[in-house]
Symmetry: C2
Subunit: 328 residues, 2 copies
Amino acid sequence: MTTAPQDTLAQAILRGERRALARAITLVESGRDDHRAQANALLDAVRGAGRQALRIGLSGTPGVGKSTFIEAFGKMLTGQGKRVAVLAVDPSSARSGGSILGDKTRMERLSRDPLAFIRPSPSQTQLGGVARRTREAVTLCEAAGFDVVLIETVGVGQSETMVAEMSDLFVLLMAPAGGDELQGVKRGIMEIADLIVVNKADGDLKPVATRTCADYAGALRLLRKRPQDPQGFPKAVMVSATEETGLADAWAEMETLTAWRRENGHWDSRRATQARHWFEEEVRQGLLARLTGSAEARARMVDLGKAVATGDKMPGPAAEEMLRWLGR
Amino acid sequence: MTTAPQDTLAQAILRGERRALARAITLVESGRDDHRAQANALLDAVRGAGRQALRIGLSGTPGVGKSTFIEAFGKMLTGQGKRVAVLAVDPSSARSGGSILGDKTRMERLSRDPLAFIRPSPSQTQLGGVARRTREAVTLCEAAGFDVVLIETVGVGQSETMVAEMSDLFVLLMAPAGGDELQGVKRGIMEIADLIVVNKADGDLKPVATRTCADYAGALRLLRKRPQDPQGFPKAVMVSATEETGLADAWAEMETLTAWRRENGHWDSRRATQARHWFEEEVRQGLLARLTGSAEARARMVDLGKAVATGDKMPGPAAEEMLRWLGR
């Protein structure tokens, strides 16, 4: 039996080598077909190890102090000897071709920590592509022996739902705010949050943060009780990332929730549901990609679209023509 | 040349016979393959007449007095000699198998009007199916010589966007409300509205209605100016459906907007864009239907889904397996 290069890479990942992990993530981020095949072989090779990290999805709009929180929270965890990976998902970077300030610059102390691994957002045009690559990067981080994988996103569009669908816990980071702004939080986001963390509970903002935290706690109590939650969850807690207060309490809440879900089978069933969701989503995306995958398909879509726009064809029959061409 | 039954039906529709129109709509609502073929032939036969009605999308949550408004507004139009068709789109009826009180019971006076035609919501399980059948029913009403086609929907889920995508004008019917409730109107809905009509501007509610109307007018002014709008649009106006006041003014606003859009090419370009949208949407839905269209495809999806849920396969490779089976 010969050893494929992916096996060597797989072994280096399983030994926890960060450079190998970085190379592997670059491989899964590639759009090239041969890289795709290598990536699949690699994922298959590391999967057998069966390692699981706690996947924490984290969302917060710009200005809530997300980088500062991740750095302080991550340092607290590495201080306890835990290995922490941070993956960023930023759909807006698809336009700018990556964040202007790299994520490593944002979290300088954490990026120098030997127990931490920080990976900036890949610049992809499609959210579907970002989803797949991020999920695979999470799998690679787990194989590399990380204890906690933080999947960070900005609170825009569908990226929050996407990140929640690949996380064991979903944390919403919020800034202290007046009562009016609280209403601006979309109900759907409240419903996927397991923990709301109000940041900047320091200095002049502390009283506002206390009130905001109580407001969110009240709003969360109004939501329907979820079977996957123990008594008292979802919760709202308060931290100061700059003063590094409340972080241990926030972590304790996450551990309580995680332990309860593990004991009650919700951890496994959530992961199973998520895996099935992503399988179905990839099949759907793959089917739809046939419309844009070849120049011939694109040209036909354009031609039929024109005929429909001018009224020469009705949308329904034109669609049937396209579907026949794509093969029943 | 022989005359197919659809030609006879087509001729009866073009003569404006309401019974023929009702039969034709039943045909396009049918899920049977042979009916589908007949429906396509029928649509093709009537298309040549090139008749266009003003398609008005109308949305309003239960309780705003939608039926009362449509009846009063419709009667005003038929009083001017206009022929008015009302098509209802109610995705919630998919669950209940049709509205409990039929639409004709709701609008008794209008349903007895020889210039009016009222069609209740078909009970369909899929919004995609409802969209296609409603669009085709609109085409048939246009062929039958109706001047105005009102496409009515309740303000839930995606049905509003769907109706807006098949309308020349989109009208949002609102009830008088306090300032807090105003914030409950989703921004996306405000952005697709051409006219907000505040109903119940009568009796004790009149002062609240006046304030509500001013609030909406203010909120609309904050939205970005749209190229398809003349100065002053989108607008908010006030009516009382029970006292039948303000209806002529609301209609005058719709006529002003319509005339401007016709003169400036926006009417045609909007219809062209919508036709293209529905063509692309039907192709997408048709592709995705392959996942559920055969028992074999469904069984494969279930089997692969199980393998993914138990961790035997990764979502990505399992999806590739399914896509290969569906044929590249």
